[in-house]
């Protein structure tokens, strides 16, 4: 659906985006994650045909953003950061204007606006001027203008920034329901947002792609494997040697518990589940198993690690 190949965008001497490549499949909800200034917005601006790429190419449905800009724009609904809207217009007039520019035939427009009012919950505010609306409603108007022409692709730049928790929940629900039939790309620097709404996450830092995968995969992969908490009561006390001989996981930390059990933090380099093996190992050695579970590494750890390292591994 969207193919980004070696995309580089330079502002003067500064590279805002540096050789990014990725694909977005039909029906995916993709989260762009990264600190401010990482290149998320710039990448979106290239996909929406606002900025031309310096190098590389972006194809939307096989159409090039530089050569077939108008055709690409017709397939995309876009909501830029900070939700720019014409404040002096009423919601109804504004949506009529957007529908008109988008080429929706005149008699069809009121019906489309009716649908938008229902989907985005704008029924009560259609006659109000946009500048008098709350931020939550403005955001809904922004989403309504992005989907009024029923585009297959929806691109939202920080759709929940500046909203209160209730409004955030509402917008997330809206995005999730839209994501059932559309391809959605959204950017954010809030981690819980990605976990809540995205099928897949791209982490961008300093213009480079540092991670790509499902939120759960990233938690496992990006730190280089899994962390397992393993605790046993062993009569012979040679647990460490046995684990070293077993060799599937590295011992990160070892502590002794008051009840005579030894607790290990194990780090494995693979993503296979090692718990069954550890269990059998304990049984074979005649150890009493007191603890065996995955240590949850949250996305926050992953994000911080990936975006603070100068040269990510």
């Amino acid at each position: 659906m969207i193919e980004v190949r070696g995309l580089t965008k330079r502002y003067g001497a500064e590279k805002a985006v540096d050789g990014i490549s990725f694909d977005v499949e039909h029906g995916e909800i993709l989260g762009f994650l990264g600190p401010n200034g990482a290149g998320k917005t710039t990448t979106m601006k290239v996909i929406t045909c606002y900025l031309p790429p310096t190098e590389g190419s972006v194809l939307v449905d096989g159409l090039d953003v530089t050569r077939d800009a108008l055709a690409v724009r017709r397939r995309i609904g876009y909501l830029p950061e900070h939700t720019p809207l014409y404040g002096e217009m009423t919601v109804f007039d504004y949506l009529t204007f957007v529908a008109d520019v988008r080429g929706i035939p005149g008699p069809e427009i009121p019906r489309r606006i009716g649908v938008m009012a229902e989907v985005c919950g704008l029924g009560e505010v259609l006659a109000k001027r946009i500048e008098t609306l709350s931020k939550g409603y403005r955001q809904r108007v922004g989403i309504a203008q992005a989907i009024i022409h029923d585009p297959p692709i929806l691109i939202l730049d920080e759709p929940t920034s500046g909203l209160d928790p209730n409004q955030i929940a509402e917008i997330r629900d809206l995005i999730r329901s839209l994501g059932k039939e559309k391809t959605v790309i959204l950017s954010t620097h809030i981690l819980s947002e990605v976990e809540a709404s995205c099928d897949r996450v791209l982490i961008i830092n300093r213009g480079r792609l540092v991670a790509d995968g499902a939120p759960s995969e990233l938690q496992a992969h990006a730190v280089g494997g899994q962390r397992i908490r393993f605790g046993v009561q062993a009569a012979n006390g040679a647990v460490e040697e046995v684990l070293a001989r077993w060799g599937r996981a590295r011992i990160l930390d070892r502590e002794t518990d008051g009840d005579g059990s030894v607790l290990f933090d194990l780090l494995s380099e693979t993503s296979d589940d090692l718990r069954p093996e550890l269990f059998h190992l304990a049984v074979d050695q005649g150890w009493v198993l007191t603890e065996l579970h995955h240590r949850q590494i949250d996305l926050e750890d992953v994000f911080r690690r990936l975006t603070t390292e100068a040269a990510p591994a």
Binding site: Y50, L51, Y78, P80, M89, V101
Partner: protein, 235 residues
């Protein structure tokens, strides 16, 4: 074409939904009316000549005031990005704005027809000069408008846009006023570049294609500069 009209319509609605358009129209009518009645009642001359003579100066302030918001405000608010990611070409956006500005200015000019009609009732004005004057004024408004829009595309700040627009128009207006200090060949070029020189030609009631062409070229050139500037996608 349809897109251009949709965009122009939005601009016009925005102007007429806010006090902007009314302030512009009324202020223009008042200023022109004052000069008109001065000539009529104090000098007892049934002529629009004073009005036409002063119009390029009045427009010098007026037109940048009308155009200053066109691109500067859209850049400041970020709506330009939304507009330029819809299926429209940059030139549609520029043309739409120019169309809206020109229609507003031409309606201001149109309202002064009441003064012309008053004259026709009270006296016997030179209808050729009046027609030429109106024609010149309309072309003047068009090219001033294009320059003002270009100035507005250069900045996010409306005040800066106003001053830039005024400065460019003022420079073009003054071109033929400095020719005394220059050698003949250069003076000729400057004269040809002057907005006022061509306007005075039209005021004589003689419509020369070179004068018309001049205004259309200025409009086109300002439009191209705006397009060039927009293509850079200024923040």
């Amino acid at each position: 074409m349809k897109t251009t009209w949709t965009l122009a319509k939005r601009e016009l609605n925005a102007a007429f939904d806010s006090p902007t358009a009314y302030v512009v129209l009324i202020a223009f009518l008042l200023i022109v009316g004052w000069f008109f009645s001065n000539t009529l009642f104090l000098s007892n001359v049934a002529s629009l000549r004073t009005v036409f003579d002063l119009a390029p100066l009045i427009f010098m302030f007026f037109v940048p005031a009308v155009t200053m918001a066109t691109f500067a405000e859209e850049r400041r608010a970020g709506t330009l990005e939304l507009l330029l990611t819809m299926p429209v070409r940059d030139r549609h956006v520029i043309l739409g704005k120019l169309m809206a500005v020109t229609m507003l200015l031409w309606s201001a000019i149109g309202l002064t027809v009441i003064y012309a009609l008053t004259l026709a009732v009270l006296g016997d004005p030179d209808s050729g000069a009046v027609a030429g004057g109106y024609f010149g004024l309309m072309l003047l408004a068009l090219s001033y408008g294009a320059i003002g829009i270009f100035a507005s595309s250069l900045t996010r700040n409306q005040i800066v846009a106003f001053i830039l627009g005024f400065a460019i128009i003022f420079t073009l207006f003054m071109m033929d006023k400095v020719t005394e200090f220059l050698p003949g060949s250069l003076a000729g070029i400057l004269e040809y570049l002057s907005i006022d020189y061509h306007y005075r030609n039209l005021l004589r009631g003689v419509i020369d294609s070179r004068d018309v062409l001049y205004y259309l070229s200025v409009t086109l050139f300002a439009g191209l500069l705006t397009a060039y500037n927009l293509a850079r996608r200024p923040e």
